[in-house]
């Protein structure tokens, strides 16, 4: 088991005052709250913070922890509590904390013991246990699922893995990994929720099973971006195609279409292809964003033609908006 340095987690020194610890915790809790932070490991960091604060805010637990920190930590970073160690602060049974100790680490469990065992009796659903009846609906499982744009267009089958909580033969609540293959219909939107009835945690005492609720996200695509219901694609064209107009082929999601570039198009011009955006009752459009690109090298003949062009268009000032 690894030793957890709660002082390092909160970024405070061993001699920090309770006020400093509270301040550090509050600041970091705001920063790493999984609903606020976009860092990948925010969830784990937030849990560590809660655990560290749970110990350091309590003078009794902090004293015990300091003792262990002195004697229990090994040079290689692993940790074993001294033989016969027993916590006097007996976390989790006195009910003086509202933290959900089931979330805490093995390290915490080893030192302050009884946390998870003590709490799991309270309720199936996150320890808030307000229902008194023995018959309980299983908890809903909330999950996120990222879909590629192609999958949004065509619908798809996705495998999802998630954890449910259920009672074992002895009535203890245990976690179980569940795998499902889910058929996702075409036309999902970002932020839309899907419900899979009865696929969450099983109920207790004949209660109904919870649901699996999936929130859909869009995975970034290398070619297409999404603006509301519209799909945007940047399409490079040659200067002469922009000047003379052209019939070009552009990619759509899962296919391609022919598009007419109007004569005299500037870079940045947006062409709208009706109904080629996100599918649905009111399908979006595909927007073709024109980008004028130059060949890396011009032939001698081309340079001469440009020279002639420069002479023919001598009155054109591309920088007129800059007043120069």
């Amino acid at each position: 088991m690894d030793f957890k340095d709660y002082y390092a987690v909160l970024g405070v020194s061993e001699s920090a005052s309770p006020e400093d610890i509270k301040k550090a915790y509050r600041k970091l809790a705001r920063k790493y709250h999984p609903d606020v932070s976009k860092e990948d490991d925010a969830d784990a960091k937030f849990k560590d913070l809660g655990e560290a604060y749970e110990v350091l805010k309590d003078p009794e637990k902090r004293a015990e922890y300091d003792e262990l920190r002195k004697y229990g930590a090994r040079p290689d970073g692993s940790f074993e509590p001294p033989p016969g160690w027993q916590s006097a602060s007996g976390f989790g049974r006195g009910g003086y904390t509202d933290a959900d100790a089931r979330q805490f680490s093995d390290f915490f469990e080893e030192i302050f013991g009884g946390g998870r065992g003590g709490n799991s009796g309270q309720g199936f659903s996150g320890g808030r246990g307000f229902r008194q009846s023995n018959r309980m609906r299983g908890e809903d499982v909330h999950a996120r699922l990222a879909l590629f744009l192609e999958e949004v267009f065509q619908g798809c089958e996705k495998q999802v893995s998630f954890r449910v909580h259920e009672a074992d033969d002895h009535g203890r609540i245990v976690a179980r990994q569940k795998n499902l293959k889910v058929k996702i219909p075409a036309g999902m939107r970002e932020g839309q929720h899907l419900r899979l009835k009865g696929q969450g945690s099983p109920g207790i005492g004949g209660g109904e099973a919870g649901d699996l609720l999936i929130e859909v996200e869009l995975a970034p695509h290398p070619l297409f971006s999404v603006e509301g219901r519209d799909v945007v694609v940047t399409v490079p064209i040659a200067p002469w195609e922009a000047a003379l107009g052209a019939q070009i082929t552009v990619p759509t999601v899962g296919s391609r279409v022919k598009v007419k570039v109007p004569r005299g198009s500037s870079g940045g011009r947006r062409l709208r292809l009706k109904g080629k955006g996100l599918p649905g009752k009111h399908p979006g459009d595909q927007i073709v964003l024109l980008q004028i690109v130059m060949p890396e090298q011009h032939s001698e003949q081309a340079e001469k033609l440009y020279q002639a062009l420069a002479e023919a268009e001598v009155n054109f000032n591309p920088r007129s908006k800059l007043h120069v």
Binding site: V36, E157, L196
Partner: protein, 114 residues
């Protein structure tokens, strides 16, 4: 203690499912007063807002938002006006992050870095 189970293919049902006030309380593990307060602060809204609370119907996005509100309130000790503002700002931040990602992608493409 985990055991793996075989893969089951499941069809998604009722993507447009709604929840009554009672159901959203049950799933959110909270009292109706809390939901009513969230509605009055504009933090969540029933699909169709009527004067009769018993007739309110909530979509699944409202349930997800209710749970987010609960987490923020519990973890950061935020009161209701603060919660309403935090969630609005978080929405705005999320929208802006998405916008920045999208614009960055278009910019990279315009610069020829595909």
């Amino acid at each position: 203690m985990t055991r793996k189970d075989s893969i089951l293919t499941v069809d998604v049902d009722e993507p447009q499912m709604t929840l009554t006030l009672r159901e959203i309380c049950e799933r959110g593990e909270c009292h109706a007063e809390f939901v009513i307060k969230l509605v009055s602060y504009g933090i969540i809204a029933p699909v169709e807002e009527g004067p009769e609370e018993r007739q309110w119907q909530f979509d699944l996005a409202a349930l997800a938002r209710l749970r987010k509100a609960q987490r923020l309130q519990h973890d950061l000790n935020i009161n209701l006006p603060g919660l309403a503002m935090s969630l609005d700002l978080l929405d705005e931040v999320q929208q802006m992050r998405r916008e920045v990602d999208r614009l960055n992608q278009q910019l990279r493409q315009l610069m020829g870095e595909w």
